[in-house]
Amino acid sequence: MYLDNIIADEIMNTLNERLAEYPAVLNRHRFSLAYRIKRRQTIRTYLKGRNVSYRSSLKSTRYALLAILLAVSMLMGFCIQYAIGRFIFNAHREHSVVYISGTSEDKIKIENIYGLPSDTGFSLTERQSDDKDVISIYQSGDKKITLCQSVNDDISNFNTQYSDPEKIMINDCEGVFISENNGSCLAAWIMDGYLFMLSGNINKNMLINLAEATIVEKHVENP
């Protein structure tokens, strides 16, 4: 309808004023690990629906970008690389892109769900899972922790803005420990073919003890 077309046009002309009513982004919010993982899940789920030709059409530009990245890295020296076990860190200013080398023992689907036993004092408050990820949120009083179990996607992002990662062992499995700000910290390790990440507002010793307490809770039917 004619009137509707004019209304639509004028809505577009008045968008600026309406948008000015919304709060401006002055301080960036650091999203929680659970949110970031859900975001990754969402993006991956969406990407799964894309056809193969999209990926292959990018191939021609991939090597051009590769050359640029290599040249920039060599010239600017921005990217510092180091390895802790299977975790290969490409450290940037505020975060690290972590390449996790794969082995034949890595699982491709979630076959068993891991969790924290109740005698740790932490109770499960929320869990989301699919065939690639399990996110479990636990609470004990005012302490909240998130346990993420996922298949090895080769790439992950860790916040290394506040500290350098240090090597730890979780049940004889190599891992990394990273302190974040506000009293939070994260431990990541690979065990039984899965990548685990445990984070929360607890101290290092408690985090590592909880990580070592992680056990198989249940077997997934028809993974």
Binding site: Y2, A8, D9, L15, P23, H29, F31, T42
Partner: protein, 184 residues
């Protein structure tokens, strides 16, 4: 080393539309949600729920970096947050439609068209409530069907249709008050 860079490039290269929307708008959406919910975890949930709604209607995103897309996303997160707040606080929701007196405010649209002036419509839109403005944006600019709007705003299809109708009627009433029509 080469494989690492290849992986990085692959990750950087496959900046899907969804990823770009997250990068561009999640902060603004979070702020909007937080301003309503005042809880960072609930606000993050609202942002995530909103993105899932948007992803189901990605064909409506014409361009990533524009005011239209920004308004679209903040509208959805605002309504998602309000719904979460209502459920949390168990406020009995008084539908704005209940207070709209349809009996005396029916305006014949054809009489409006006769004296259409863009500037008058623009001025009338400025005086339209946020709720009416948003519903007209979703319906007329993003061209969502009432069912799609119902899904986006967590309302029923009938409520969506009613809100669209009421919003248009209220806009026409504002135009009437500005003397755009001949209806007394």
């Amino acid at each position: 080393m080469l494989s690492i860079y290849l992986s990085m490039v692959e990750t950087e290269e496959e900046k899907s539309l969804v990823e770009e929307l997250y990068i561009k708008y999640e902060q603004a959406m979070y702020l909007t949600a937080f301003s309503i919910l005042r809880n960072k975890y609930s606000a993050e949930d609202a942002v995530q729920d909103s993105f899932i709604k948007v992803i189901n209607h990605l064909d409506k995103i014409r361009e990533i970096n524009c005011n239209e897309t920004r308004f679209y996303l903040v509208t959805i997160v605002k309504n998602t947050s309000l719904n979460m707040l209502r459920k949390k606080q168990r406020y009995p929701e008084v539908s704005i439609d209940e207070v709209f007196d349809a009996g005396t405010d029916d305006v014949v649209e054809d009489e409006v068209i006769g004296k259409i002036c863009s500037e008058e419509i623009r001025n009338a839109l400025k005086n339209l409530s946020d709720t009416d403005y948003e519903i007209l944006f979703l319906y007329l600019v993003k061209e969502h069907t009432p069912s799609e709007i119902a899904h986006l705003l967590d309302i029923t299809g009938n409520q969506a249709r009613q809100r669209i109708f009421r919003a248009r009627q209220r806009l026409i009433k504002l135009l009437n008050m500005r003397g755009v029509t001949n209806v007394p």
